[in-house]
């Protein structure tokens, strides 16, 4: 699993620029599904044919990043965020553009108070000293992703972009494990989740599934001084009851809980106040699609050192496998 996670997490693919990551995923699953295509927005849709219920699983393949907005005369790059990027987390990090050029994220030294830190007071340095030189590599509109390796330690995966390449890994793993299925399963690797759940809705509109499950990461409440939250790393797959966008449909939520109990799969229940995942746009599509989520608990979300538990990932795979194979 770690090799797959490393390859996925290390591949470039910020929101709106998913070509490279889509190519990698396509290679991994081609030949293992009955249909494989990319839609207008760039969602990658893999279908296992069946005569039962139509079920959609969605994991977003885009990641957060930064976009160059202006090149200073002395070559420094001003930038803005793609998705929920924290100025604090970005500070001192390296970023990488699509062409492989790397930059350091730094801030104006005069800035005294950390609370005054925002992107307008920050810049990216790619080591050039003139606008002309910088423009040879980076133009306004070019998007970079954070740069950090992937490791496995103490049963945890630590990496950038586990949100939501770990979800993509889960779907790829499921595709590999499935042989004959009764239900029709659409595995959807969605685009532009991080900028407003843009891809999942249009994919769902075309697929019109009977049930849909978003497979994404979720925050935990198990670190020093964190806000109270009943999700812990290593305590199992998180069955979403509610997030900031969706109250899970009883059909999906109850089925997931029943299956977890029946097959003795470790799970926990997720109630989140803010933020939403792909279920948020799927469930209001085409007159309403019963939707829910199975989440992988993740610490330090949207930082270059996101952390998930390998056991949780296994449990998510088990639970989703039971879900898509279930014939009632």
């Amino acid at each position: 699993m770690i090799e797959l996670v490393r390859e996925l997490a290390g591949t470039y693919g910020p929101s709106g620029r998913e070509d490279e990551i889509r190519g990698v995923i396509r290679k991994k699953i081609s030949g293992k599904v009955d249909e494989l295509y990319t839609d207008t927005l760039g969602n990658l849709i893999a279908v296992k044919k069946g005569n039962g219920k139509r079920i959609m699983l969605a994991a977003h393949m885009d990641e957060i990043g930064v976009v160059a907005t202006y090149i200073e005369e002395n070559g420094f790059i001003r930038f803005s965020n793609i998705g929920g990027v924290s100025p604090v987390f970005s500070l001192g990090q390296r970023v990488r553009f699509a062409n492989g050029v790397c930059g350091c994220v730094c801030y104006e030294e005069k800035l005294k108070e950390p609370k005054d830190l925002n992107f307008s007071k920050m810049f990216i340095d790619i080591g050039t000293n003139s606008r002309e030189r910088t423009m040879e590599y980076v133009s306004p509109g070019d998007i970079a992703v954070f740069e950090a390796g992937t490791i496995e330690q103490n049963g945890r995966y630590i990496s950038k972009a586990l949100d939501d390449r770990i979800g993509c890994a889960v779907l790829i793993e499921l595709i590999g494990q499935l042989n004959e299925v009764k239900n029709e399963i659409a595995f959807v690797f969605t685009v532009q989740e991080e900028v407003g759940l843009r891809g999942a809705g249009t994919a769902a509109y075309a697929i019109k599934p009977d049930l849909a499950v978003a497979v994404d990461v979720t925050n935990t409440g198990d670190t020093p001084g964190c806000n109270p939250l009943s999700i812990e790393l290593g305590k199992g797959a998180a069955v979403m009851i509610k997030d900031g966008r969706t109250i899970s449909h009883p059909l999906v939520k109850n089925k997931l809980i029943d299956l977890a109990k029946r097959f003795d799969i470790q799970y926990q229940l997720e109630v989140i106040e803010k933020g939403g995942n792909d279920a948020g746009s799927i469930h209001t599509t085409a007159g309403g699609i019963p939707s829910g989520g199975v989440s992988i608990p993740c610490r330090y979300m949207h930082s270059p050192c996101e952390m998930v538990d390998a056991g949780d990932v296994k449990n998510v795979v088990k639970l989703l496998k039971a879900f898509i194979q279930s014939e009632d």
Binding site: N227, L269, E270, V271, T284, G288
Partner: protein, 354 residues
Amino acid sequence: MRTDTLLEQLCKINAIAGFEASASNEIKEIFGRYCDKVWVDTFYNVIGYKKGSSKNGKKIMITAHYDQIGLIVTGYEKNGFLRVSNLGGVDTKALLAREVTVHGKKDVFGVIGAKPPHLLSGDEMKKNVKLTDLFIDTGLPDEELKETVAVGDPVSINSQFVRMVNGCAAGRNLDNRCGVAACVLALEKLKNIEHENDVYVIATVQEEAGLIGAISSSYNIEPDIAVVIDVCHGDMPEADKASTFTLGKGVPVGVGPAFNKNVTQQLLKLADQEGIPTQLCVEAGDPGTEAWAIQVSGMGIAVVEVCIPLRYMHTGAELVNLEDVDTAAALVSKFAAGRTVRLSKEDADDTDTD
């Protein structure tokens, strides 16, 4: 049916946003008394259908959401306490010291604990209480509590329905059960009015959680015209005159970009002809009601809105005038019947019909 009896019955129902499934059948039963056909869709919207007498009739959709605000369990604290988050826009001030029901495996009584003033620091006295500071005290032993209540279980606010001497009623869930009551009364009236239009009366879900029921219903029904019945703010001392409306002085009709201008004018004209009192409820943008979602459904839908003024919105002690519920029902039923209203292709906003 008597308005107060109906409203009392409706207010007793627990249909917390996102958890309407168990309540949908009771609404269906009430709608069923007056409809040609009634059904519950996958999202638990309840749809009552009355067939029109003409093939040339329009498709009219009338919505009133039947979900109510509430809380959701997010975790446990020692000694029988529960942590909670909101389902819909709750007012934390108004939650303090309230009695609630936690809908676990079985219903559990609880109170929302509030620190007494004696124990508040000066700073705490000044600040509004945050949802994360609130706890539900169930009094149950921890083991039993965990056995009975799960993270994600919904919580409703307890409050009696009270008839007041001035023709008003107070209680919880009046937002928007008074709208649902107006729907039922309108259906009852439509039984005795010949109407050309096909009428779909829908009690919608999850309005308080992002207009979910309105989005799915309008897509599925594809009406020509939609009428939203929801509450607006009632007048009270010290409140802004422009955004509050006098109780018992007619139903406010929505005016603004969310609402189709021509159809709204026809609605107001009809009210005038029929001697039904109205007021004007000006909404400069998003009115915060289902109209906003319905308007942009599919290729676009002409929406009008009829409001019922309600005081103390989103608290356990909301208050409406029963007469306003009747007025809304009278106006909406007459409008849906389309006897005096011309519902033609020229209803589009950009056609000059004046």
